[in-house]
Structures are given as structure tokens and as C-alpha cells.
């Protein structure tokens, strides 16, 4: 498979092979991320196509440091936007469970404090929290709340039981909540 730098160079050269190479290297990852959020084949494919279009329009002038992270951000953003637009009937129950867990972290914070925190500030605080964790815990947290993987899938990825993953996630949510309370105070 082509190196990220070479794929970005194809984008800069306005060579359409860039999209084919991107799809070959990261198509599966992006599709799975969209599927974890939308859980609908048609929506997933639309989202993936919108992602490739967005990447084509943004590179150049943007030169991403990590093409993988750049793609994940776009596909996640587009999928969440579409998810928000979807009616309650079409919503994915697995995704709802994951979101409720995440919401629980902020339940302990005062509503005023939460309003003070902007999305990017919250992300920066979570970023600091994640950098203090071990690689394993960070991986589990992000697979669950960034890539929205079901517990069983994460257990398979980590070669351990679902119970262990649930316990680790429970502890992580608790410590994240404590960390955010201290950050705001």
C-alpha cells in the first residue's frame, strides 16, 4: 500500500488516483466508523463519499500531518451530523448506549460549568486526561467513545473478556469525571 506522504502528494497534483489509494488504505476503517454511528448501509456509503469529496476539496491547501486522523475526523463529523438529523426511529441503539455512557461522565458537573466549557476546550481537557493514561486504557477508551465500537468488538481487539472492558470503561468514566471537575474548579 502507498505511503501517506505519497497519497497526499497525489492530492496536491490533483490526481484522481489519490481517492482510489485513500479508499484502498483507509476505506475499511472509515466505513466501519460510519457504520458504528449510522448502522445503515446507504447512509454509510453516502458519508464515505462525502468524506472523500471533503478531503479532495481540503487538500490542498491543507497538508495533514496524519492522513488517517484527518480522514477519521471528517468521517466522524459527517456521520454525527447525519446521525443528529436522522429521526429517532432510525437511530442506532448501540450508538445511543455509548453516547449515554459518555453523557454520564458530565452528569456530575454543574450545568453552569458545562456551559463555560466550549467543545474544543473540553476536547483539550480530555486530550490531557488521555495522555496520562496507559496505552491499553487509552486504546479502550477511544475505541469505545471515538470509534463507537461495541464492547464485544473491543474485547476481541484486546484479547480479553467483555467484563474486563466494561470494568475498565466504568473506572475510566469515573476518573474522567473527577479530572474534569478538578479542571473546571
Amino acid at each position: 500500500m502507498m505511503e501517506d506522504g505519497a497519497i497526499v502528494a497525489l492530492y496536491f497534483a490533483r490526481n484522481e488516483d489519490a481517492i482510489r489509494e485513500t479508499d484502498q488504505k483507509y476505506g475499511k476503517l472509515c466505513y466501519r466508523l460510519a457504520d458504528n454511528i449510522l448502522h445503515n448501509r446507504f447512509d454509510n456509503e453516502e458519508c464515505l463519499n462525502d468524506t472523500y469529496l471533503a478531503v479532495w476539496n481540503q487538500i490542498p491547501p491543507t497538508r495533514p500531518r496524519s492522513l488517517c486522523a484527518f480522514l477519521c475526523r471528517i468521517v466522524r463529523n459527517l456521520s454525527l451530523k447525519r446521525y443528529r438529523r436522522n429521526s429517532a426511529k432510525r437511530r442506532n441503539p448501540l450508538m445511543e448506549a455509548s453516547l449515554s455512557e459518555l453523557e454520564g461522565v458530565l452528569a456530575y458537573l454543574a450545568p453552569d460549568a458545562l456551559q463555560l466549557l466550549e467543545a474544543k476546550e473540553l476536547a483539550a481537557a480530555i486530550d490531557r486526561f488521555l495522555h496520562n493514561l496507559t496505552y491499553e486504557k487509552r486504546y479502550i477508551f477511544l475505541r469505545r467513545y471515538y470509534f463507537f465500537d461495541p464492547i464485544e468488538v473491543i474485547a476481541g481487539r484486546c484479547s480479553c473478556g467483555g467484563g474486563r472492558i466494561r470494568l475498565i470503561l466504568f473506572r475510566l468514566r469515573k476518573s474522567l469525571s473527577k479530572f474534569l471537575r478538578e479542571e473546571i474548579a
Binding site: 476503517l29 495533514p64 500531518r65 496524519s66 488517517c68 486522523a69 484527518f70 477519521c72 475526523r73 466522524r76 463529523n77 454525527l80 446521525y83 443528529r84 445511543e96 453516547l99 449515554s100 459518555l102 453523557e103 461522565v105 458530565l106 467543545a119 474544543k120 473540553l122 476536547a123 483539550a124 480530555i126 486530550d127 488521555l130 495522555h131 496505552y135 491499553e136 487509552r138 486504546y139 479502550i140 477511544l142 475505541r143 467513545y145 471515538y146 470509534f147 481487539r157 484486546c158 484479547s159 480479553c160
Partner: protein, 86 residues
């Protein structure tokens, strides 16, 4: 509200996203598990060895060669005393 929280996570560092995009956790759990099994097996064998030696001692089983020599010398001196008395 729920989706807003999830959206804010989109802006975490690129290094973190790239690290988590790996197919599986890059830790040699099998190797670690094998070492744990070896350590437990060694501890069990050591415990059994200690238990067996304790049982042998209490039954008067094999003793150390030094003890054996001491007992032989004791028997010989007793025999010498008996002979001299006769």
C-alpha cells in the same frame, strides 16, 4: 446534548486518533500470560517440594548425610562403652 459531547471528542489530538485506529491492541498479552503460568507453576512446585520434605522428616525418612554420620558415631561409641564394661 449527547451528540454534542461526542462531537467535542472529534478535536482530540491526531496522535491519539492514529494510535487508536490500530486494528488490535499492540500488547503481547500471550507472552505475559505464559510468564504468569510459569511463575504460578514454579510456586506450586516449590510448595509441594517443601511439603514433601516436611512429611519425610516427620516420618523419619532420609536425613542429611551429616546426621547419618553423627548417628553412626554415636552407635559405635555406645558399642565401645559396652565392650569396655564387659
Amino acid at each position: 446534548m449527547k451528540v454534542q459531547i461526542a462531537e467535542s471528542l472529534t478535536w482530540i489530538g491526531e496522535d491519539l486518533i492514529e494510535e487508536a485506529s490500530a486494528e488490535s491492541l499492540n500488547i503481547h498479552r500471550g507472552k505475559r500470560r505464559a510468564w504468569r503460568v510459569i511463575a504460578i507453576a514454579a510456586a506450586i512446585m516449590l510448595g509441594m517440594g517443601l511439603w514433601v520434605s516436611t512429611v519425610f522428616r516427620s516420618c523419619g525418612g532420609p536425613v542429611s548425610p551429616e546426621d547419618e554420620t553423627y548417628r553412626a558415631e554415636e552407635i559405635l561409641s555406645d558399642m565401645r562403652v559396652e565392650m569396655s564394661e564387659r
